[in-house]
Symmetry: C2
Subunit: 226 residues, 2 copies
DNA sequence: TTATAATGATAGTATAACTATTAAAAATAA
DNA sequence: TTATTTTTAATAGTTATACTATCATTATAA
C-alpha cells in the first residue's frame, strides 16, 4: 500500500496539469533538480527537455514559461508546508505549541516524503531558499496576483497569522509577523550558507536547529503579553 | 555653492569608475530610471544605450554585465543609507533613539537629495524594494562575495547591529535583527503595494509612516529587557 | 477500430548578451 | 598649439534564449 499526496493548485498556473501525466511529473521532478543545481537564470526549457528526453515544445504545452513554472513550484512547496502543519497540529490545543510546530515544519519540509514520489523535498527547499522570492518579484506581479497565482502563500500566511493572534490577541501585526517567520527562515539559512556576516546563526551540514531556536526566541519576545 | 556627496564603492564592481565621467554618470542615472520602470529582467544594455544616446559597447566598458551593475546600484544605496544614518545620529547618545533614527533613515532614503545630482533617490529606493535581493540571490554569490561585492551591506548591518547590542546587550541575535529590519522595511512596502494580504500595514501615496511604526513596535518588543 | 489527444521532430523568428574592429572625438601632455 | 593618448561611437558579427508553428507519430478512449 502506498499513500500519494496530491497537492491541488490554481489551474491558472499551468496549461495542462503536470500531475496527470508521466511527462508532466517529469517536468516537475527535473525542473526542481536543475534549478536547484544551476539556478533559475541559467535554467531553461531546452535544458529541461534534454534532461527528460523530450522537447522544448512539449514542455511549453504544460507551462507558459519558466517564470510561471517557478510560481508553480513555489506554490507546491507552500501547499506542502501547509499540509505538514495541518497534520502535525491536528490534536494540539495550545496555540504557542502550535506555532512551535509551524516553525518546526519549515525545517521538516526538507525531509524527503515518499508520498510525493516526483518531488525531492530537500532540493525543492533549497530552491525556495535561494530562488523563491523571484516568484513574486516580477514586473507583472499585479496581473499575476489578479489571476490568483499567490493564493496558496496567502492562505498559508493567514493560517499562521491566526495562530499568532490566538497566542496574543493584542499583538498588532500578526500577518506581518507570519510572513516574517517565513522570510527569516529562508533568509537566514541562505545567509548562514553564503553571507555569514549577515546573520548570527550557523547551519552546519544543513542542520537548521539554530534557525528554529532563533525563530522561537523572536516569537517569545514578540508575543509576550507585556 | 553646492555640496556633492561622493559615494565610494568597491573597485571590483566596475571596470571604469562611472562617477568620473559624463557617460558613467548617465549610465547610473538612467539605469536606475529604466530598471525602476520596466524591471530588472527586461532591462538590458542596449535599451540603456539607446536612452542615453550611446552604444552597448560603451556601457560594457563600465560594467561587466547588468548583474554587476545591479550590485553597484544596490551598494550605492546601502552606502547612501549608511551616510544618512551617520549624519543623523551624530549628536545622539541614547541608542534607542539612534535605532529610531536608523529606522527613519530607511524611509528618508526616498527623499531626493540635491547633493547626488545623478541619482534619483526615490526611484532608486523603488528599485531596491522590488529588485534589491536579486543582487545576492545568484548562483555565483560565493565568488562575488569573495570579491567583496557585498561589503557595503555588511558594514551597514554591522553598524545597526552594534546599536541593537547597545540597547540590550543580552539580546541574542543583533545581526539577524538588523538584517531583518532592512528586509522587513523593503518587503512590507512591497507587500502593501502589491500583495496586501501579506502584511498589516498600508502605504497610501508612498507614505511609509505605518512601516516605521511597525518596525519600532517590533524593536520595542524584541529589545525590552525581560 | 476509429477518432482524438498527447508527444516528438524539426524549423524558424526575434531578441539578448556579449566581443571585436575601426573611426571619430575629446582630453591631456609636450 | 600640436601631438599623443584615451575615450567614445558606429558597425558588425556570434552564440544563446525564448519562444511559435507545423506536421508526423504514438498512445488512449469511445
Amino acid at each position: 500500500m502506498s499513500v500519494v499526496i496530491n497537492i491541488s493548485l490554481n489551474e491558472g498556473l499551468f496549461l495542462r496539469n503536470p500531475q496527470d501525466s508521466v511527462l508532466g511529473r517529469n517536468i516537475i521532478k527535473h525542473s526542481i533538480l536543475i534549478i536547484a543545481e544551476i539556478g533559475f537564470e541559467a535554467f531553461n526549457f531546452k535544458k529541461l527537455a534534454q534532461e527528460i528526453k523530450s522537447t522544448e515544445a512539449s514542455v511549453y504545452r504544460y507551462f507558459e514559461n519558466k517564470q510561471v513554472l517557478l510560481i508553480y513550484l513555489v506554490s507546491w512547496y507552500w501547499e506542502y508546508v501547509a499540509f505538514l502543519i495541518k497534520i502535525n497540529t491536528l490534536n494540539i490545543e495550545d496555540p504557542r505549541k502550535k506555532l512551535e510546530i509551524i516553525i518546526n515544519s519549515f525545517v521538516f519540509a526538507a525531509l524527503d516524503n515518499p508520498a510525493t514520489p516526483y518531488v525531492d523535498e530537500s532540493k525543492l527547499q533549497r530552491l525556495i531558499i535561494s530562488e523563491g522570492t523571484k516568484a513574486y518579484h516580477t514586473i507583472d506581479v499585479d496581473e499575476k496576483n489578479d489571476k490568483g497565482f499567490f493564493l496558496n502563500y496567502k492562505e498559508l500566511i493567514k493560517m499562521v497569522a491566526d495562530v499568532v493572534s490566538e497566542i496574543n490577541p493584542n499583538f498588532k501585526y500578526p500577518i506581518a509577523f507570519a510572513t516574517n517567520l517565513f522570510e527569516m527562515s529562508n533568509n537566514h539559512i541562505y545567509f548562514a550558507n553564503h553571507l555569514p556576516r549577515l546573520t548570527d546563526v550557523k547551519v552546519p551540514k544543513n542542520n537548521y536547529e539554530e534557525v528554529e531556536i532563533m525563530l522561537n526566541y523572536f516569537a517569545d519576545k514578540l508575543l509576550a503579553d507585556n
